[in-house]
Amino acid sequence: MLSPQGTLSVLTGEFFAAADPSVSFDGKRILFSAKRTSQEPWNIWETDPDGKNKKQVTQNFGDCREPRYLATSSITPPEFEGRVRWITFTSNAANTYDEFGADLSTALYARNLETIEGRGFITRRSTYNLSSDFSPTVLRDGRILFTSRQKGSGPRLAHGRFLLLASNWDGSGLNLFCGDSQGATLKTMACEMPDRNLVFVESEGENADASGRLARVSFRRPLHSYQSLSRGEGRYRNPCPLPDGRLLVAYKAGRETYGIYLFDFEKGQPGQRLYQDAKWESIGAVPLAAAPEPTGLISSVIDTETTADLQCLSIYDSDQPGASEIKRGEVKRVRLVEGVPISKGTKEKITALPPGVPRSRSRILGEVPVEDDGSFFVKVPGDTPFYIQTLNAEGMALMTMPNWIWVRRGTSRGCVGCHENKELAPENRVFLALVRLQETALLAPPEQRRTVTFQKDIFPLLEARCVSCHGGATPASRLDLASGNARHIGAVYSKLTASRYAGAAEPGEPYVTPGSARKSRLIQVLLGKTAIPAKPHPEVLRDEEKKAIIEWIDLGAQPED
């Protein structure tokens, strides 16, 4: 703690390491994460500003970091009379791998600091992403905003992509706040300024500590108001507003240690230096001051429920690339695909996966009919990450949602569209799926959810139905699924996914375009959709076999399961 007179006192001398301070709204308590020895995991602690009255908040819950005070809020059921103080923090307690990162994934959790009558202390998981959610901040409107690593498409796929998402503190009402279309890829350490801007640190991930440049977006238009703040080469961390609107940052220009500065908005560089220590990195400064308490939000999550409702007003309301090419009425169904994280300690050969292949598995929750107006209505398992694909009449994906969503237990989630322009409010009209009141329930228990894997479903199919022609001395269309080392699954997989006629003068498109059966030549041939099919392929496979191949490709055509 640095006093106004410049004297420094250490509040957490008894710890091996301490970090992530967060001051309560009345300015009287401080949350932080700490570990007492190098071996033990990080836990959340709370202390008085003078270092007294320390209280351990979490225990035996993985590495708990980045605690933040939430507004006093209520949970349901049964009644809400006793509002209590909650905190949010990150933890890797789920013990599952990050889809794209090297470590365990972190998720956001919420825990009450005061006991709830009849229920004591509850630690609830808020986010159900497959990759890490981290760097939470509490917005004045009561939501939590955090950086979320998500699957993506295109060149960024290999490391996933990073979005700033906001949700209720219980993880319901998840929505994009600011994406990666403007500014740098990785945006973290966001904080809401009194002038209703969101200041954050952005980088391309070049620094291991996620430090980078300062930038901001306005709450008035977070998706279209990106503005770079800092100029020059130095590295910034942990921006934090003072009550008067000035901004604290940790900064270092080169090889020296981080110091604490007031940021000079006009010059775009650090202004007055408040503190620096030649030996220690000084980061994560927060003012010890009272701040207005955010709006408390009610949590409608019902822990004893297992299901949740999802309703979409119109899947045609979409801002995704290619959405405008989809004609009204073209979408007949949607497919919900569950993401299953891989737990640490299982024998999966996850490290052997090539880059860009997520470390997770897919299961099909099922398909839901879409009404003519684009609406659908489905009951899903709660707290389960999934994405949605819109399907045409042939059951092939037209669009694939590029990130994981979930619906918290016992809640109802409404979507205006499918990745619609988040600046548009919904239309006020009656939607057919709700008029008909026909909710599709996709509630098969996990073990009965459909999986399609190359090894189990596709490779045997090729062996049984295709090798007779596409093998031997003169394989049809020069596609040899049996020659040489063809018994090796990997080789067959490569033949389907690599360019056709590889090595020839004019290599063609691959047979399989992962993620889009519709664009895959293999499917076009099998459905008789190419201009000159060598053979009437439509009869070669039965419908359910074609469906399996379509699903395998739509789900990413992964080499292993």
């Binding site: 009379e81 408390g296 939000l297 409608s300």
Partner: protein
């Protein structure tokens, strides 16, 4: 409602003495006070005064904070009018029934005039000699001399006059009669009404075009629209010269229209509106899911198009826009958001740019207009400033030089002064009034302030404008109430204190429960009100009065049509001579004081989206004002309740009525307003008129065997004579309507499938074994007053009363029992409440004594559990 000098006034008096002489011809607030008080006191006759004024159950409460102060009323400034020199601002104070004159240079109140009850609209005559003020509860317009501040004349107009405007000459005055759905046209020289023009539903604001040829009328509520379609506000266009309606524009998917303004170049008309999302399931607030706010902009001219712009932002809402005014040069439009205490400054050039205006017309496609109407972030293009105001900013006016904007801070009793050149607040002008907040006042603020909801999206007032309703149906989503299920029509906040349970489902026994956790979870999605706030808001809601019923004659009497309707309301016989069971008469369920029995009934209105078939009986005091009707709002008029939605006579017997009779009934229902409760005697006399000579006897069919009872059946009236509370309880139960329910299509289907031979299950002695009483006894064993049709009536369970019913015998319980009084055991219920395969399709829950007994419990002495050992009824 009188004013007493208050210490707070002394401050103003000294000022008045100095400046008042010059400005106001010697007018002095000081001397005016006692005089006015004296004048007003004799004018006491106020019919239905309890219904028309705030009566709180806390009045007189010892806790000082909850006592409604009699002598220090808040001003509640609401509407403004500014003189052409920008110097004198007339401020209508609706709560103190006065108009204050503010000197804008001195920033002081310099004058005051008492007008009628709850004044609202105000306008100056073009020559500024007169001030016209509409009085909402008196249904009058006060004509005030603007220099002497004396009321020259009081002109009766339609019900609930809102804004008013004169033509360019000042000879004609237009008044929006909100609850008559029309516009009064007054001659200001003869002080007489010349004609009335039909407007849309609930006309609110008036605006004159700059050339003074055209008058535009905005409306608060939607014109009738088909069920489950978006609301539509009308913008009525009136030709000032001919005094004719020349156009009716439709503002699509908008509601709660407030102020209307015309751009200084006359090219566009704007209306402050709410863009509701009532047709969506209410699953969230985020992304404008519940409601958005903005303004409609309409091309002037005969077939102008309409576009919509939001003043909200993606993460913040500017709830309940109210007042609107253009700057004199038309460059900006000021909009007050009464729910968040801000004035938004809209740059109209940016708006015109988005509309690609060419020759006064929009140059964009309809698709783009639709996009704009949904766009939450466009406001960052055209809202150039947000200026904080005092509490609950309502009307606003701009000074003629465009330098100042004055805003009525209704719940702060101040005028906000905004420097329009810097878009900064330039302080407030205090209007006087109490400086301490009562719980009532705090409750009213809570009702109006949208800070209670996530991202400030909605206040109570958003859906209950005028402390009433917005006329929309909603799909509320919560535990046990899924999306698309249980659509409900909004209900009024007026005079509901004693009408619990609340909600159409009757789930909330108290207002505290309704406004507390439920509202937080289902509407606001925030922490909701804390305990103190909840107490305050309940206190406020309970204080909201009913308005004066405009259909009753001034002396409280009814005209001949209404009188005839009253007979239909209470009748016991159909035109074709069928007996109407008590449980199917209007008066039985909709009875005084609030015209509800506060019970749940199945009146055949369940549709496929409803989970339950029973609904809370709405209070129908002032029901003419509460449309649309039925629990899901499917009827836009009262007529439709019976002409379309009562095919089986389950919602009262009405299908025998001819058009004239139904009209009479409706004319009477419109007069129904809060009154004192019926005495027991009045109730019994109403429900049990003398038996009709030669009255039709129910024609019984398939009577298997006649049972001779030990005594004769005497009828409910005899029992009710002493056991009135038990009788009233019974009347609210399904037992009183078991015969009535045999009229339903479902009953006919069940009867047919069960092989009932009777032409109608109501004639089937087999069905009536359970659905009626004493259907199987010889005719002479039923007193003339006794009716099988009363369903499971007293004697069904307690046995024929002839021998035990007299007071002398009933005094001695054992004796009564020996004379035939049956006290029941749960086993007796099983005589009828046994599993019946024919009834399974009704989907009723299996008989559970504990649960079912709760529904009919009528007096603990009769608790059948006391008749047997407790273990014997367990599990029944």
């Amino acid at each position: 409602m009188t004013l007493k000098p208050d210490p707070g006034w002394i401050f103003f008096l000294s000022i008045t003495a100095v400046v008042g002489g010059a400005l106001l011809s010697g007018f002095s607030v000081n001397s005016a006070q006692p005089a006015l008080q004296a004048q007003r006191e004799p004018a006491a006759p106020e019919p239905q005064s309890t219904a028309n004024h705030r009566v709180s159950k806390y009045r007189g409460d010892k806790r000082a904070d909850y006592a409604v102060p009699e002598d220090d009323q808040y001003k509640s400034p609401i509407q403004l009018a500014l003189s052409k020199d920008g110097r004198r601002l007339a401020v209508v104070c609706e709560n103190t029934d006065e108009v204050l004159i503010v000197d804008t240079g001195l920033k002081k109140v310099v004058g005051h005039v008492e007008v009628g009850d709850h004044p609202f609209g105000v306008t100056l005559s073009p020559d500024e000699t007169r001030l016209y003020v509409g009085n909402r509860r008196d249904n009058t317009v006060s004509v005030v001399d603007f220099s002497s501040l004396k009321v020259l004349q009081t002109i009766p107009v339609g019900a609930d006059p809102h804004q008013l405007k004169t033509d360019a000459s000042g000879r004609t005055l237009f008044v929006a009669n909100m609850r008559n759905n029309n516009i009064s046209v007054l001659d200001t020289e003869t002080f007489s009404e010349v004609k009335r023009l039909s407007s849309g539903t609930t006309p609110f604001g008036l605006a004159l075009s700059p050339d003074a040829r055209t008058l535009y009328v905005s409306h608060q509520l939607s014109s009738p629209v088909p069920f489950r379609t978006p609301p539509v506000l009308e913008l009525t266009v009136i030709d000032v010269k001919t005094k004719l309606v020349t156009g009716r524009r439709r503002l699509f998917s908008t509601v709660v229209g407030q102020d209307v303004a015309v751009s200084p170049d006359g090219r566009f008309v704007v209306v402050a509106v709410e863009l509701p999302k009532n047709l969506l399931p209410e699953t969230q607030v985020y992304q404008g899911w519940m409601v958005t706010y903005g303004f409609a902009i309409v091309e002037a001219g005969p077939r102008g198009r309409v576009a919509y712009f939001l003043i909200d932002e993606p993460n913040l809402y500017f709830a309940d826009p109210y007042g609107m005014a253009f700057s004199p040069d038309g460059r900006v439009l000021y909009i007050s958001s009464s729910g968040v205490n801000y004035v938004s400054v809209v740059n109209m050039e940016k708006v015109y740019g988005l509309l690609k205006i060419q020759d006064g017309k929009f140059g964009i496609l309809d698709d783009t207009i639709r996009l704009y109407s949904r766009h939450l972030a466009l406001s960052s293009e055209y809202v150039e400033a947000r200026i904080p105001t005092g509490n609950n900013p309502k009307d606003l006016v701009v000074s003629p030089d465009g330098h100042w904007v004055y805003v009525a801070n209704r719940l702060a009793d101040t005028i906000q002064v905004i420097d329009a050149r810097s878009n900064q607040s330039a302080g407030v002008i205090d209007l006087g009034g109490p400086k301490t907040d009562t719980a009532l006042r705090r409750g009213e603020r809570l009702f109006n302030y949208s800070t209670i909801s996530f991202q400030k999206q909605l206040s109570c007032n958003t859906c209950h404008p005028e402390y009433h309703l917005d006329g929309l149906l909603y799909d509320i989503v919560g535990p046990g109430d899924g999306m698309g299920q249980n659509l409900v029509d909004n209900r009024t906040m007026r005079a509901i204190a004693e009408t619990g349970p609340f909600k159409w489902s009757g789930k909330n026994p108290t207002l505290a429960r309704q406004d507390g956790p439920r509202a937080a979870q289902l509407f606001f999605r925030s922490h909701g009100f804390d305990k103190n706030q909840l107490q305050e808001i309940v206190h406020f809601v309970e204080s909201i009065p009913l308005k004066r019923n405009q259909f009753v004659n001034g002396d409280g009497t009814l005209n001949e049509f209404q009188e005839a309707g009253k007979l239909h309301y209470e009748r016991s016989w159909t035109v074709d001579g069928r007996y109407i069971p008590v449980g199917n008469r209007c008066i039985a369920c909709h009875l005084p004081p609030h015209f509800t029995d506060q019970k749940m009934h199945d009146v055949g209105t369940k549709t496929y989206s409803d989970v339950e078939s029973v609904f809370d009986t709405p209070q129908i005091a002032n029901v003419f004002d509460d449309g649309p009707y039925l629990h899901d709002g499917r009827c836009y008029s009262l007529e439709e309740i019976w002409t379309v939605n009562n095919p089986d006579d389950l919602h009262g017997a009405t299908n025998d009525m001819d058009k004239r009779m139904l009209n009479e009934l409706i004319e009477y229902i419109k007069t129904v307003s809060a009154r004192g409760p019926m005495s027991d005697e009045e109730l019994l006399n109403t429900l049990f008129p003398p038996p009709r000579k030669g009255a039709a006897v129910l024609p019984l069919e398939d009577l298997a065997q006649i049972t001779v009872p030990p005594a004769r059946y005497v009828g409910n009236k005899v029992c009710a004579g002493c056991h009135i509370s038990q009788f009233k309880t019974w009347l609210g139960t399904k037992h009183a309507r078991t015969y009535v329910m045999l009229q339903s299509q479902m009953a006919k289907t069940v009867a047919k499938e069960a092989g009932i031979k009777a032409a109608n299950p109501q004639y089937s002695a087999f069905c009536l074994n359970c659905h009626g009483t004493a259907s199987d006894v010889p005719v002479e064993y039923r007193f003339p007053e006794f009716r099988i049709e009363e369903g499971v009536s007293c004697e069904h369970c307690h046995g024929p009363g002839e021998k035990y019913a007299s007071k002398e015998i009933m005094k001695d319980k054992q004796k009564a029992i020996s004379m035939g009084l049956r006290l029941l055991t749960p086993q007796d219920c099983l005589n009828c409440h046994k599993p019946k395969p024919s009834h399974t399709k009704l989907g009723r829950p299996p008989f559970d004594f504990e649960a079912f007994w709760k529904k009919i419990v009528h007096g603990t002495q009769l608790d059948p559990r006391k008749a047997i050992k407790s273990e014997e009824y367990k599990g029944m």
